[in-house]
Amino acid sequence: MNGTLLEIGPPAAREERSGFEPVVVAIVCNWCTYAGADMAGTTRRAYPPNVRLLRVPCTGRVSPLQVLKAFEQGADGVLVSGCHPGDCHYVHGNLVARRRLAILRALLDFVGLDARRFHVSWVSASEGVRWARVVETVTRAVREAGPLDAWSPRDGEEPVRLPEPPPAPSPPASPEEQEAVGRNLRSLAASLLGEGRVTVFLGYGEATLPGRAVPLLATDLAEASALVWNDRCHSNLAVYLAGPNRVPGKVAVVLKACDARAVIGLQQEGQLRREDLVLVGVRCPGVREEDGRLALKCHACDGEVAAGCDFTVSADGVETGAARSAAPRAVAPDPRDAAIAFLEGLPPARRWAFWREQFDRCLRCYACRAVCPLCYCGTCISEHHRPQWIPASIGPRGNASWNAIRAYHLAGRCAGCDECTRACPARLRLDLLNRRLALEVERRFGYRAGEDPSAAPPLAAFRPEDPQEFVHA
């Protein structure tokens, strides 16, 4: 490769120079595919010169960042290739990679990058002929897909409009009912703080703006008397349990059903000490937007208190343990799934038009990360600068890479609380990215995040029989 892809120039410029010759970055493992490509060379097997090889020890080492970087720097297609399942030099690196690449592929396809640009294959050291064939197939597919589309929205482009969500399946809770829950929370907080069982009671208080509730960290009875409960209690308070915003001490935390999934995720990943926590589950009537509409995440949720909570608080009182109500809230299909289906029904170019307009708005304020309980890393990948995987500059390429890698890092982990989407000042539909990958993880690996604190995280695990229909035959 002559220098970086940046020096080769953007695809459009290359097209003008010499007709379209796709650039394909092939990330290959040292032990099988690289040797296979070598075999193709030593046996004088011709294949298209469009691939640039990047040798890594194992496909298990391939990071989605490398793939995103290749596209960001102007590659038209990426191929990841390693040993056949069972042949991995490191026993099962390629099987872990298979899961991750399947998720990355679903993500790239969903944002409209076009599935024809991203390929996975298994090529052994003896399969020079196979390598040549794979490169031919991949180059042909990328050539058909054409040069990578522009990163910025086109002037005057018809915007993609998502369908209107359906009406809420359940009515709002009455003010009296909400106040009763608030009263019960206050009395529970008073007894927990009063008896010294906790040092902080994390709940919600009245905001300074009307019709809102904000996180309230009550440390004494006076502060606890300001606790409230209503359908504007949006914040996922689990964000204060781990990572840079962790509240020290013995903490009782008020949790809605979605918030509790985040706590289970944190527990699963060894980020909190369960014995330092008192989990206060609230039977949730669903939270509502400023215009009174039920939040999209709530349509398919019955609001019941998650298993594992220490207390169940409802309008009727405080019960010990996680108690189910006699009549759970009515649910309906998840409207986020309808929006996802709508986008998937569009051609890739239109999906990309939707997402690049979204990414273009992104201010890179990292509010999505700040409000996310599962974003607990001390140093975020966006802050690494050797190498600078995610461009720090606020612009179309860096914004796309940032939002893609965050969605990927949450795959199989996201609790679906949609706090990132609520916090986003530019109103990016991050909920759709996260939900799309949650569905992919469930479909492929039969796993749902936030249900079992003892389960292995799906992208750190594998099964020999995991589907690999996307791998080149």
Binding site: V214, P244, R361, S393, R427
Partner: protein, 355 residues
């Protein structure tokens, strides 16, 4: 064209007049930036025609500062192939620019930016080519507090022309020579505004100012906050802060930036990028030491810069212009108005306590 600057002259326009005027400006090659809506989100966007002008418009989610102080700005490009490195200035697409329909708080925010960035050549050249048309507010939002920080819903600071809603139409008054010149091409066809129309409009503006319902900061607020640097209240309020940068990025007057080199050793660019004092990385030293070690300390920094260190250096004028965006958008529900009041209500404590 020589135009006399007459501060007392003013016109009465309807929406069609405004659109025709904007259309003429767009046609002349100026970039006209105004509030525009997409998917329910209002932001400042360049208009392609006068017809695109939204009247009435929503309050944009973030300030128009990016049209003077872009989110990312290339300072130079470099190329090196072994020998002498080649440096190249970026092509500056500086065209006459009209920032149209700014609320008085946003217009005042540009004056705060000038104080910090005015000496920067790229900023200064864009600023010189920019004319600001302020639109007086005809309603107060719950988060508004311009009257606390010396502004008003019909404030003139930072504006070149003042547009005032009046009985479904608008009164327009130049505030500077630049403003007069912007109107010069079109004003011949506009009707002069009557004293009665101004009287009615002023009465309405007074009502809006009362609706904001906030009294000015007490005398000596900047010194008072500085003396309470070590107050425990900072920790009590700031521990809720989650460390995003919404408040600074949507702010009309926040002007901090980072300098980054992007590319490879062979070629790339140096650029200036928005940055925020709310990020831990902002003050992290190479040694690993961080003088602002927690989020409460970073939150205090932002509040003190707006309400103490800046006013102490600028004749008592707060850096904050009271647009209220940070209040509305903070995901943790932090309200800078409440924070300032609460800290000022605390007793004085030694400077080196606190977060």
């Amino acid at each position: 064209m020589s135009t006399a600057f007459d501060r007392n002259g003013s016109w009465s326009l309807d929406a069609a007049d405004l659109r025709a005027w904007i259309g003429g400006l767009v046609g002349s090659g100026a970039r006209v930036v105004a509030p525009a809506e997409r998917e329910g989100l209002w932001t400042f966007r360049p208009l392609r025609s006068g017809e695109e002008l939204a009247l009435p418009a929503g309050f944009p989610a973030w300030s128009p500062k990016e049209f003077l102080f872009p989110r990312t700005e290339t300072l130079f490009r470099y190329e090196s192939s072994g020998g002498e490195p080649g440096l190249e200035d970026p092509v500056r697409e500086d065209v006459p620019q009209v920032l149209f329909g700014l609320a008085p708080c946003d217009a005042a925010g540009l004056v705060r930016l000038d104080a910090v960035l005015g000496a920067d050549p790229a900023y200064a050249s864009r600023r010189a080519l920019t004319t600001v048309v302020t639109l007086a507010c005809d309603a107060a939002r719950p988060e508004c507090f311009c009257t606390t920080v010396g502004g008003s819903p019909h404030g003139e600071e930072g504006g070149d022309l003042l547009l005032v809603p009046s009985d479904g139409a608008f009164l327009l008054r130049p505030l500077t020579r630049k403003g007069t010149e912007l109107a010069a091409g079109a004003s011949a066809s506009w009707a002069p505004a009557t004293a009665e129309a101004w009287e009615r409009a002023r009465a309405r503006l007074r009502e809006v100012a009362e609706a904001v319902g906030r009294s000015p900061l007490a005398h000596g607020f900047a010194e008072g906050l500085e003396r309470r640097f070590g107050s425990r209240a900072w920790q009590q309020v700031g521990r809720r802060c989650l460390g995003c940068s919404i408040c600074t990025y949507v702010c009309p007057s926040c002007s901090c930036f980072d300098i980054q080199d992007e590319g490879s050793p062979g070629c790339g660019r140096r650029c200036r990028i928005w940055d925020s004092c709310t990020f831990g990385l902002f003050t992290l030293h190479a040694s690993g030491h961080n003088p602002r070690p927690n989020q409460a300390a970073r939150y205090r920094q932002r509040v003190l810069h707006k309400f103490s260190s800046y006013p102490l250096e600028h004749g008592g004028v707060p850096m904050c212009v009271g647009c209220g965006r940070c209040v509305r958008l903070c995901p943790a529900g932090l309200d800078v108005r409440e924070t300032v009041e609460r800290v000022l209500a605390e007793g004085k404590e030694p400077r080196h306590a606190g977060p």
